[in-house]
């Protein structure tokens, strides 16, 4: 990875003093991720350029890691852009190699260090989530004129388009220390990823580095958020391994907030209305012992917990990680014993019969069926209506007809990327009828949310009641 800093201030070779690096020598510095080199491709009276070249050790980058990912169980680790791009690794090297310059200290030329001088910065490969507009937005207000050229992914495959890398050139008249601290902060912000774990002392670092200019930056919020909020959960290892087997990119599994309620953010109260409708139906049929099958991170569980009408709650989900999140969001460990005894979380799946789920008053499948591939729906029905066989089953699912009422939802798109289908009211009713015929239930379907005269309500809810005497 490469960064060049050029000045046309005369004498330009004063850059050597400002950076504390002699223009006529190649200098190397060991940094944690490899070796940093400083050389000057030009050093004349009218123009002087210093280059910082960081040679990242790709093997050490993988094998030298500590913590859970230390052994390097992700396939992507060696095929990694970090050795080539201007990322936080470069920012760290910048801090180490040009530490004094960054602080604006220069015994030999202290006045010059405090003076804005004409500067040109070149980053041949800058990863930038947000493209050249973001680079413009972040550097422009700081007094830079920005020239950003996107780098194509592969000329052999033009239809793949551009990469998220920019060839970035900045020109402006700034104090060198400001220029360097801006890079120090903004490289990881543009990249939107950091190579080291973000911790509390990052806040101090940010304030130290960005003190002079960050406060006035119109995008300071974006900058601080991106800089500090990268506590990206490590993808659960098992899941990412299995994903890679399928030639899919390994990445964090769909995050908590992208759960099935995410799409409803458009209409913030829909999830609440749905939960209220479910609770009302549970009361109406006197269901006190309730299974939330596909409980996710526990939004419905929390509602059930606060309703003393419900005496026993079982939350089931297929993802152990999600269950762990649910447990911590519900603060199960801190609940008083009597509350704690009301709730159990189980690892399970709606497509497998599960004897642990028999004998309850009701099973709730809230926004679950649409995450199941249609060929597996009969198994879900057999497991829930045939094997668990509670008195009452409550199913909620989107009404796809309503999607046209959401202008932000592209036509034909589902409300959530993982939805395998979304049913019309007729399709839902047909499915309910089949289930009833196969398993001896009777169903009633209710709208949830504002009812549109043409397309119905956004959510449809079915209450299935077991026919006690007659079974087929």
């Amino acid at each position: 990875m490469l960064l060049t800093v050029t000045t046309t201030h005369r004498p330009a070779t004063d850059l050597g003093y400002l950076l504390h690096k002699h223009p006529d020598r190649a200098q190397r510095f060991d940094v944690t991720t490899g070796v940093a080199h400083v050389v000057y491709p030009e050093a004349a009276e009218d123009r002087c350029t210093a280059a910082l070249l960081l040679e990242v050790d790709p093997i050490e980058l993988v094998r030298g890691r500590r913590g859970s990912a230390a052994e390097g169980f992700s396939l992507g680790q060696y095929v990694n852009d970090r050795p080539y791009v201007a990322s936080s690794l470069l920012a760290v090297a910048l801090g180490k190699v040009f530490g004094s310059a960054l602080k604006g200290r220069c015994e030999a030329r202290q006045e010059l260090a405090a003076t804005p001088i004409p500067l040109e910065i070149h980053l041949p490969v800058l990863p930038c989530r947000g493209g050249s507009p973001l680079a413009e937005r972040l550097f422009g207000p700081l007094g830079w004129s920005v020239t950003a050229r996107p780098i194509p992914l592969d000329p052999a495959f033009p239809d793949w388009g551009d990469s998220h890398y920019l060839d970035l050139r900045l020109a402006g008249t700034l104090r060198l220390a400001d220029a360097l601290t801006q890079l120090y902060v903004l490289l990881p912000v543009l990249d939107d990823a950091k190579h080291y774990w973000v911790s509390v002392d990052e806040v101090d670092k940010l304030i130290r580095a960005g003190g002079d200019w960050l406060g006035a930056h119109p995008d300071r919020e974006l900058i601080t958020t991106r800089y500090l909020a990268h506590q990206r959960r490590f993808a659960e290892e098992a899941l990412s391994r299995l994903t890679e087997l399928d030639d899919r990119p390994a990445e964090a599994p769909e995050s908590a907030s992208a759960g099935h309620d995410a799409a409803d953010d458009r209409l913030p109260s829909l999830a609440d209305q749905r939960r209220a409708a479910i609770l009302a139906e549970l009361r109406a049929c006197d269901a006190r012992r309730v299974v939330d099958l596909g409980c996710g991170e526990g939004n419905l569980l929390r509602a059930l917990l606060t309703d003393q009408f419900v005496t026993e709650i079982v939350g089931v989900d297929a993802a152990p990680r999600t269950l762990a999140v649910a447990a911590s969001r519900l603060r199960l460990e801190q609940l008083p014993e009597r509350q704690r005894d009301r709730i159990t979380l189980l690892h399970g799946s709606a497509t497998y019969a599960d004897s642990r789920l028999t004998g309850y008053d009701a099973v709730v499948l809230s926004e679950v069926v649409e995450h199941v591939d249609p060929p597996r729906l009969p198994d879900l029905a057999s497991a829930v209506f045939g094997a668990a066989r509670p008195r009452t089953v409550i199913v909620t699912t989107p009404n796809v007809e309503y999607n046209v009422r959401w202008p932000t939802l592209p036509s034909g798109a589902t409300r959530h990327p993982d939805h395998r289908f979304e049913w019309t009211r007729t399709e839902f009713a047909d499915w309910a009828e089949q289930v009833c015929a196969a398993h001896g239930y009777a169903a009633r379907i209710e709208p949830v949310g504002p009812v549109d005269p043409e397309v119905g309500a956004p959510t449809q809810l079915a209450v299935f009641s077991r026919e006690s005497a007659v079974t087929r």
Binding site: D24, A51, L75, V79, I151, R248
Partner: protein, 847 residues
């Protein structure tokens, strides 16, 4: 004195303190079989005489006893058992585990006990006196309380001469190995029974009046009747006469049906509702002489409710039997055998709704039963119902065991009108209910029995990791009969500049004693398992799928390869036509096939991966390295010493180009199936057979014919056979690999030519991969060939990968064998799921 004790029972020793119970127990039973209250008191309180710990001690004792009885182990409880309520708890425990409670009472003279007491424990005399009182009051009630056997030893001589004789359970006839002909509900259809026996090869014995009074098979086969010989039909006495004769002669076994049970009560003059064809039996039997009625009554009374046969592999019971009850004896076991388990609900005809126990059955023993008339028999989870409603005008059916062939004869007429119509042939929906998978089939710490490696263990956390993928992303488990095992690379190369090289692959097989290997081109696309049926009818019948699909194409984790089902069907259709043209259906006598294949190009499946991971690395490297070289060259021009640095960056710039070229070879545009190539390299299974362990000569010859049938779609696997003991052959193989990889090929897979092979250390790796130098750039990064990097990358541990590869291979063969043999879905899914679970073990994915 001989004391009979059932092999599986809960034995209570009864006697006052000092009566010698512990001594008796230690003499006649293994130490682990005896649970002593004293020992448990000591365990929970550190003092075996601490009476305040008694309740806790018995809690713990009963808990342990329960575990032993669940596992089917004889258990002896050494406690005084002088109080009725203590004995009641023990009897309840026996019943809860469906074993017989037995009491052995040590009722020794007072002076004997007193002497021992003073020497041993020193209880006050009045305590002993109270105990003796309690014992005396207890003695005559023991039988009534529920002990099935009560042995009383009243003298020291009795005790000294006592000898325990273990009795086999009535239902335990595991020593009989048949072969058997198991016959469904006869219900008085004597003529059809005679016809069936004749068609099974039995010779009938007739009395002077020409009535069949026995039958025997020239090959010594044994008939087994599932009960319900009587009622409804035209000749209940005739059926009884024949079966009684056979049972007496030892040519048949018979279990009791519910109809026999009720008929006995009617014959004994008890109040019963005369319905469901009982009237016919009573009328017919009224015409028989009294001796016959008495003999028939005694015969039916003596029928046991289930048999375990053939080493435990076969269980016969009238209404079936769940696994926990096999070999057990209790009222509820008998009731299950006779009536099945009812849900308490009744159906629209007023008949009890039966709990579908067979859907949940996971036992190893095959359970053969009758009771519920069906119009067609079908195996459900290793159970089969043979009641094909002969008396209602259906058929009378027999199952030949161990052949598992069905033989049936039609009813001569409708002898009796059914209350409800015979169940129609099992619908697909019912079938799917029957093979619904259960969470306990996959979750938890499990072991899967495999043919080649024995028990393969699946750790609980790995199973948990796999459940999400399996339940959220995998295709219908009915299609998922196999997941490809992982494959280990060859040992790290010793040749300079290489991470992998053929020399190590050949050497490894040589060391294992495998001489002939096949080197197959490793296609660089994405793994695809193809399940192909001749048509949707086959898919429904053989795979139990409920939709219109005719097969499946899925990835290594069981996801559908294509998102669009129509595209999958179009691909299947092409492959199907190639199989048609190649004539493989007839040749392999199958109407479905499972193929292991690679689907190319890589970019079809990996498009996103390429655009998000591979191409960006190449783009970044190609942009930054020339810039770095230029900066350094200008510095060098100024006289700065950067020679080494610039040389290295020039090298890296070349690597960046090579890296880009490496992945680029595996990318080309496709439009639906245009441009898609399928490279099948193994036939995995067809009807009745797993082909997975067959030799690769056979495999490749058949696959070549598929290639010839559709060259546009199906890509050949080039290969060369190498004799690893022959230097020239090894050199030729190495040269072949070098050419292949120089031309941009991924590499090769070296496999024992014979397919499956055992070597000095057990099962040999079914294949090792040997990847090309350029290909490995997309695994280890553009610069991996730098000596400084390579030397570190060579430090890699292959042990876990190899072990994983073998275990997954064993599981793969197992799931195919189970599917080919028509085993229940849960048995196939168990093995398939285990592969996915093992794949979530943390092993370096670059290997």
């Amino acid at each position: 004195m001989k004391l009979a004790v059932p092999e599986l029972s809960l034995v209570a020793l009864v006697g006052v303190s000092g009566s010698g119970k512990s001594t008796f127990a230690s003499r006649h039973f293994a130490a682990t079989q005896v649970l002593s209250s004293d020992a448990f008191r000591a365990m929970v309180s550190d003092d075996e005489n601490d009476q305040s710990a008694t309740a806790d001690a018995f809690d713990a004792l009963y808990y342990v006893a329960g575990k032993r009885l669940t596992a089917g182990r004889l258990t002896v409880v050494d406690a005084t058992h002088l109080q009725r309520e203590d004995r009641a708890k023990l009897i309840a425990l026996a019943k809860a585990h469906d074993v017989l409670p037995v009491a052995i009472v040590l009722d020794l003279p007072e002076n004997v006990c007193a002497g021992r007491n003073s020497a041993h424990r020193g209880l006050p005399a009045q305590v002993l006196a109270r105990q003796r009182d309690a014992l005396r009051r207890s003695l005559r009630h023991l039988q009534k309380e529920g002990f099935r056997k009560v042995h009383v030893l009243s003298t020291v001589d009795d005790v000294d001469s006592a000898e325990i004789v273990f009795e086999k359970a009535y239902n335990d006839r595991r020593e009989l190995t048949g072969p058997f002909d198991i016959i469904g509900d006869v219900h008085g259809c004597r003529s059809e029974l005679e016809t069936l026996l004749a068609s099974l090869g039995y010779l009938l014995d007739r009395d002077a009046d020409g009535r069949a009074v026995g039958a025997r098979h020239p090959l010594g086969r044994t008939a087994v009747f599932v009960g319900d010989l009587v009622d409804r039909g035209p000749d209940t006495p005739g059926v009884l006469r024949l079966v009684m004769g056979m049972v007496a002669a030892g040519t048949a076994l018979c279990v009791s049906g519910n109809h026999e049970n009720k008929l006995i009560r009617a014959l004994d003059g008890r109040q019963v509702t005369v319905s469901h064809g009982l009237a016919e039996s009573l009328a017919q039997l009224a015409g028989e002489p009294e001796e016959f009625r008495a003999a028939a009554r005694d015969f039916m009374y003596g029928l046991v409710s289930h048999y375990r046969l053939d080493g435990g592999r076969l269980v016969v019971a009238h209404a079936g039997l769940k696994e926990e009850y096999h070999g057990r004896a209790s009222g509820r076991v008998r009731s299950f055998c006779l009536y099945g388990e009812t849900t308490g609900e009744t159906d629209e005809y007023g008949l009890p709704v039966r709990h579908p126990w067979a859907n949940e059955y996971r036992g190893a023993a095959s359970v053969v039963y009758g009771h519920t008339p069906v119009s067609e028999t079908a195996w459900v989870n290793n159970t089969i119902c043979l009641d094909t409603g002969c008396v209602f005008g259906g058929t009378l059916t027999a199952l030949r065991w161990p052949e598992r062939e069905l033989v049936s004869v039609p009813a001569e007429r409708v002898h009796y009108e059914p209350v409800r119509p015979l169940a129609p042939p099992e619908s697909l929906a019912q079938h799917r209910k029957a093979d619904l998978l259960r969470i306990e089939d996959v979750l938890g710490s499990r072991t899967v029995e495999t043919g080649i490696l024995g028990r393969v263990k699946v750790r609980e956390e790995n199973a948990a990791g796999a459940l999400e993928v399996m339940s959220r992303f995998a295709i219908d488990p009915h299609w998922l009969v196999y997941l490809p095992p992982t494959m280990a690379p060859c040992a790290t190369a010793s040749a300079e500049g290489f991470l992998e090289h053929p020399a190590e692959a050949f050497a490894a097989y040589r060391a294992d004693g495998v001489s002939e290997v096949v080197c197959e081109e490793k296609h660089m696309g994405s793994r695809a398992v193809v399940v192909l049926c001749r048509d949707n009818e086959v898919a429904r019948r053989r795979f139990g799928v409920a939709d219109d699909t005719t097969g499946a194409v899925y990835t290594r984790t069981g996801r559908s390869f294509f998102d669009d089902p129509a595209r999958t069907e179009r691909l299947l259709d092409r492959v199907r036509r190639a199989v048609d043209r190649a004539g493989l259906w007839a040749e392999l006598a199958t109407d479905w096939l499972v193929l292991d294949a690679e689907l190319l190009p890589w970019s079809v499946k990996a498009g996103e991966l390429l655009r998000r991971q591979y191409a960006p690395v190449g783009a970044a490297a190609r942009a930054v390295l020339p810039a770095a070289v230029s900066v350094l060259e200008r510095a060098a021009d100024r006289g700065v010493d950067v020679a080494e640095l610039v040389a290295r960056q020039r090298n890296r710039a070349v690597h960046a180009e090579e890296f880009t070229a490496a992945y680029g070879r595996y990318c080309w545009p496709v439009d639906d199936l245009d441009g898609v190539r399928l490279a099948p390299f193994q036939l995995l299974a067809g009807e009745g057979a797993s082909y997975a362990a067959r030799d690769h000569g056979w495999q490749l010859a058949l696959l070549d014919r598929l290639v010839a049938a559709d060259q546009d779609l199906i890509r050949a696997t080039t290969r060369v056979v190498v004799d690893v003991r022959d230097e020239a052959s090894v050199a030729a193989g190495t040269a072949w690999w070098t050419d292949l990889t120089d031309a941009g090929g991924e590499g090769m897979v070296v496999k024992p030519f014979a397919g499956f092979a055992r070597g000095r250390h057990g099962v040999v790796q079914p294949g090792v991969k040997c990847r090309g130098r350029e290909y490995l750039r997309i695994i280890y990064g553009p610069d991996y060939t730098e000596p400084a990097h390579l030397s570190r990358l060579r430090q890699r541990n292959l042990g876990r990968k190899r072990s994983l590869a073998l275990r997954e291979y064993a599981l793969g063969l197992e799931s195919l064998a189970r599917f080919a043999a028509g085993e229940p879905l849960w048995r196939i899914h168990e093995a398939v799921f285990a592969v996915l679970a093992l794949e979530s073990e943390p092993v370096d994915p670059r290997l």
